[in-house]
């Protein structure tokens, strides 16, 4: 068995003195582990960092074996994010979430594309909003997407982004999400139950960028559903890297 694929490094664990076991998110082979001989060497140290984009070659006798990996650096996203605590936390959180949430060896090309887009977007100022959108996309790719298209109670659709931009919150605007169904609820319909509903930050419906409070609300929203549907059923705790990212947006 042998393949060559585009990949993003998710996690690396030392094995013995010179080798490492790397977990990669590949474009067509999903999350895939492999033994990297010399993975702790000088040549590999800058390559096998979470978030780095690599050209990966995997080889094994049987398809379900760990197999051997060889990686060549394509994009040094980890080094680019290292100087900024927020960006580094986002990169680490995204990689840790993929590592925890994705099943092994099952193709998830949409998640790969989304993670690649997120890593590229970390250079931009709007990275916090992009990160929340990325977690929504991860939920969607895993089959637990939120329905933010219309109010679950009244059926009133979300206003188009252009119409919603620059206006105050109207009563029919989507403002909450049901923690059980993941469907949006409008401000007026959700008002009597607002203590039990999750806040839906405006930028997730209207587009644009969110401020720190909205990012915090967005992370609480996606975190609830990641825990409820993706991690919780498998008794997997929320990755500490994501918790540290959430802490960065605490006021």
């Amino acid at each position: 068995m042998e393949w060559r694929d585009e990949a993003i490094v998710l996690a690396v664990r030392r094995l013995g003195e010179g080798a490492a076991v790397a977990s990669l998110l590949t474009r067509t082979h999903g999350r895939h582990p492999g033994l990297v001989r010399g993975g702790q060497s000088k040549a590999y140290r800058g390559v096998l960092l979470p978030g780095n984009r690599v050209d990966a070659r995997w080889r094994a006798r049987l398809a379900d074996q760990l197999g051997g990996l060889r990686c060549e650096l394509v994009g040094a996203h980890a080094a680019a994010a290292m100087d900024d605590p927020g960006r580094l936390a986002a990169l680490a959180a995204a990689c840790a979430l993929c590592e925890a949430a994705l099943p092994e060896r099952q193709p998830h090309e949409a998640v790969f594309e989304a993670l690649l887009a997120l890593l590229d977007a970390l250079a931009a100022e709007s990275w916090p909003s992009v990160y929340v959108h990325w977690e929504l996309a991860l939920l969607r790719a895993l089959g637990y997407g939120l329905d933010l298209s219309a109010c679950a109670a009244t059926g009133v659709p979300a206003p188009p982004p252009a119409a919603a931009e620059g206006v105050g919150r109207a009563n029919d605007e989507l403002a909450y999400v049901s923690p059980r169904t993941g469907r949006a609820v409008s401000l007026s319909a959700g008002a009597p139950y607002r203590d039990r509903l999750l806040a839906l930050p405006r930028f997730l419906v209207a587009g644009g960028e969110g401020d720190a409070a909205e990012i915090r609300a967005g992370l609480a929203l996606t975190g609830h559903f990641l825990d409820r549907h993706v991690l919780g059923p498998h008794a997997i705790p929320m990755p500490p890297a994501r918790s540290r990212l959430v802490d960065r947006f605490r006021g």
């Binding site: 996690a11 003195e17 960092l49 978030g51 650096l73 994009g75 980890a78 290292m82 605590p85 990169l91």
Partner: protein, 197 residues
Amino acid sequence: MIGPEIDRLIQLLARLPGLGPRSARRAALHLVEKRDILMAPLAEALAEAAANVRACGVCGNFDTVDPCSICADAGRDDREICVVADVASLWAMERAGSFRGRYHVLGGLLSALDGIGPEDLGVARLTARARDSKVEEVILATPATVEGQTTAHYLADCLAGCGVTVSGLAHGVPVGGELDYLDDGTISAALRARRRL
């Protein structure tokens, strides 16, 4: 056939870093052959180290005295504390010989895979040291990896209220390094950290 004593010696030697079963057999044979000039002094040195070496209560370095010889050295600069991940990093800094301040050994880095969280790093001990009126700067000399820099940023946040300057090591072109052989990340980091000549 190998007797049980030598077999045990081989098994223990094979657990040392850099030694596998084959090299452990060679080392054991060498020790047995050089019993008087190597094996006995080595056994004595090992017993002495096992009895006396301990972690320094101030910085976490290994030494036979507590506080360690670096913490007890009156000639070192009390204004600077260099935070390192482990004792191997401290020894590397000492080999370089260019830092004359004090050290603080974390004993690890934030790592979910290794099960190391903030509570395992002894941050309270570090912040208590940083609050000392003599300390002016804390240098975070953690590795240039995602885990190392995540730890550095976390420590920088913890040290924010201590009234000290928090700095980190520069990342870039190593001495003797040729650009052609450097990875993209290192070149980018070096370019970002360029200085006026």
